[in-house]
Symmetry: C2
Subunit: 212 residues, 2 copies
């Protein structure tokens, strides 16, 4: 009889607990919440997930989510086709889109290089990034990866791969490929005294000209 | 184009975000995780939820979850039929079962009295608790509600209701109804200096005889 309800609810709890960041206690709470909903509400829930899997795919070019083979950002005529912003995942595309400060294309790696987690370059969409450079006439690649050790490693790896690939391009393509990374420093609105030392140190070393 | 993926994933994100304790960012993370799973995995997920709603019901007597009209705890011959432990929700039944220290019956209120949240006595399974006392020959009711203001209020309300109901029982039922509550005090393994003042104060006032 011990733990009887958890056996009864087991399958559903297992499924919720398989989601990232959801432990068994939270999973149980979610299942008991759904149990209190009407049968119709649960059906709305499950059908939303089913249609998700059927209707949503990944863009063949930039690997963000899309309802077609190529996403609206890649298809749009209003975007700057010479710039690619490299991000870790789909959420980052949304975060950058929300800023309204970027009008180029994206490339979603699907992760970053992390030997600890067994993620190497071949697990990521790096080959497909390199393959985009020439045919699409890309002039700038912006590296917008996490500002962590893994992010830095991935940045460096991509930088080397792009340098190599670009040096082998025919000279007709007469321009340099610019490779940039997002600015790191004290977050807007933060007090210096509460900023960590590494960030503050970097923000002094990498200071920029004051503009009015 | 702004926030385009979130519109595309919107329905599924909305559904996850409707669950307790899940915000929109977490919901999006869960949806993107499911999107990476195979179609079959998602089907396993949704069918677990669908069958949950079809197979699991609430016990007619104690209101815990059950696959039949009456739960195995209420049906069992091995449980002490003279004691009811009153708890807030199904999780609490599981927590107490896991201790292995209780062998009586349960009564799940489905919440506690909380005027701030608009939950009054009539929203809870209190009438059905009072109705169980006479026919089931209950000798003790253990109040195992949260040790909060709302829990205390609910304890007091139930105490008064039970007192009233018991005083009107025919005298044939010659015993007193014992109403107890779970012990409150310093948690096992805790240092006194890290225990909050209210708990420590209560644990001194409500001290019990030392037993070897």
């Amino acid at each position: 009889m011990n733990n009887y309800p958890s056996i009864l609810l087991g399958k559903a709890v297992d499924q919720f607990a398989s989601l990232p960041g959801i432990g068994r206690k939270t999973a149980l709470r979610l299942v008991l919440h759904l149990l209190r909903q009407s049968e119709k509400d649960v059906e709305v829930f499950t059908s939303a997930l089913t249609s998700l899997k059927q209707d949503v795919h990944y863009c063949r070019i930039c690997h963000t989510v899309s309802d077609q083979e190529v996403c609206p950002i890649c298809l749009s005529n209003k975007r700057d086709k010479h710039t690619i912003c490299v991000v870790e995942n789909v959420q980052d595309v949304m975060s950058i889109e929300n800023t309204g400060q970027y009008n180029g294309l994206y490339h979603v790696l699907g992760g970053i290089i992390s030997p600890m987690d067994g993620v190497g370059p071949s697990d990521l969409e790096i080959d497909s990034l390199v393959a985009r450079i020439e045919p699409e006439d890309i002039r700038e690649v912006i590296l917008a990866l996490p500002t962590t050790m893994e992010g830095d490693t991935t940045n460096f790896y991509i930088y080397r791969r792009l340098q190599n690939a670009y040096s082998q391009l025919p000279i007709a393509n007469n321009q340099e490929l610019k490779i940039s990374q997002i600015a790191r420093g004290v977050a807007i609105g933060n007090e210096l005294e509460y900023t960590d030392e590494i960030t503050l140190g970097r923000s002094i070393v990498n200071r920029i000209d004051f503009k009015v």
